[in-house]
């Protein structure tokens, strides 16, 4: 019994500390995809990649020069649920106009040609026709094909917006 008492005390303390650590529950992941100017604008373990808050480290690696437009690889990739996009810092899986397959994107804000991500393929690197599309009452970034039906590979033009043609 004497030997058990310190173990119980240690277990109590450890349990309290572990619970405390686990329940240190403030998560600033709601800032992912928010418009930002510098890393300090974003949350912990986030960076301001381009003009959006993205999770470190993988999605912060924008290899181009500082002023050079750089595509964001996860953008406009096919998805089913928001969670699939959030891991890359994009908060929305947008299902445009009844399309069966959604695409990962950000909420739109301001000028889409400056605040929405470039696509990595199918267009000149510094030019992706972008627009704001309303999905479920929210404005999201999308690739515009209303004037030119051309879309990146594995995407198709659906009512003026490029949507993935295949499920993820």
């Amino acid at each position: 019994m004497r030997g058990a008492a310190p173990a119980i005390q240690l277990a109590l303390m450890t349990t309290a500390l572990v619970i405390g650590a686990l329940l240190a529950c403030y998560r600033d992941d709601y800032l992912l995809g928010a418009l930002c100017y510098r890393d300090a604008d974003c949350g912990d373990d986030q960076c301001c990649a381009g003009v959006r808050c993205r999770p470190q480290p993988d999605d912060c690696l924008r290899t181009a020069g500082v002023d050079e437009p750089t595509p964001f690889l996860p953008a406009y990739q096919p998805c089913d649920r928001d969670e699939q996009c959030l891991v890359h810092g994009q908060p929305v899986c947008a299902h445009w106009a009844g399309a069966t397959v959604g695409f990962c994107t950000d909420f739109c804000v301001g000028d889409p040609t400056r605040n929405c991500e470039l696509h990595s393929d199918g267009f000149p690197v510094d030019y992706t026709p972008r627009t704001c599309a309303t999905v479920d009452g929210q404005s999201v970034c999308a690739i515009d094909c209303s004037a030119d039906p051309a879309c990146p590979p594995e995407m198709q033009c659906h009512q003026g917006v490029c949507v993935p043609s295949a499920a993820p």
Partner: protein, 315 residues
Amino acid sequence: MTATTRLARVALAVALTLATTPARAHLSEKTAASQASNLSQETPPPTTSERDLAYELGVQAEALGDLARAAAAHERAYRLTTAAEPGPRLLFLRASVAARLRADDGSAATRVHLCHAQALLRDYLADPALTPELAAEERVSLQRLEQRLAVAGAPTCATLLGATPPPAPAPATPTTTTPTTAAETPRPPPPVVATPTPTPRPAITRPLRISGAVGLGLGATGLALLAAGVVVGRRANQRGHEYCSERATACVANDPVLRDIETSGRRGDTLVRVGAVLAGLGLLAGVTLLAISARKPGPRRSALRPAGLGLAGSF
């Protein structure tokens, strides 16, 4: 031991004296005057005030942890009490025996305390007027004592008591020395096998218990802080998601609303961390102190109980 407790014990002894032989309970000049007529009809005690003083000295010595002196003083009070006062007599007897038992730590040097207790109990039980009810518990006590004394190779009580001063000195003043100091008592040869007995410990149970309770209180406060931090943090999360996910357009990271939410969330995290540390340390300290206090009961309580319980049945 607080002054209140000492006063209560003295008051208990006085009350017992008054209850058994009201005529002899002249503890003060005023009481003595009021009881004068009754005193003339019975054999007066040696000097009751001297007995009270002896008992008070015993209580004080016990509070200071001087068990040998306490036992001697209680024994003095016992010997100053006649058989006509069975209540106080038993109280003083048990107080002295209990102090002797706790003064013995199993070593040869303190074995003499057991001998004194044995002699005292035998003296008490030798009274032919003693009723079986009053004698029963003391007989059991004497048997246990003699079992404790029955250590092979240890010096006999005759040897020990023959070489020591009389067991009941007259502590007229608080500066009276104990009869069995190291300088006066010749050291008997060490026993071959010494029965381990609990050593007397200072009366620290109550402070430990209080400290333990304070520790547990801090732990509970820490848990409350932790819970509050969890609530604050989660609420901040919810507000952040609502603000950024449920609006028509993207939120801006340096939005003052988001800054407020972030500040609130970080405050919640701080509460959780502080609460977790406080809870851990508080619970650890509280449980430890309470465990220690439970393992080391105070000597005063164990000394008082037998006398109090025994006396309750005697009257």
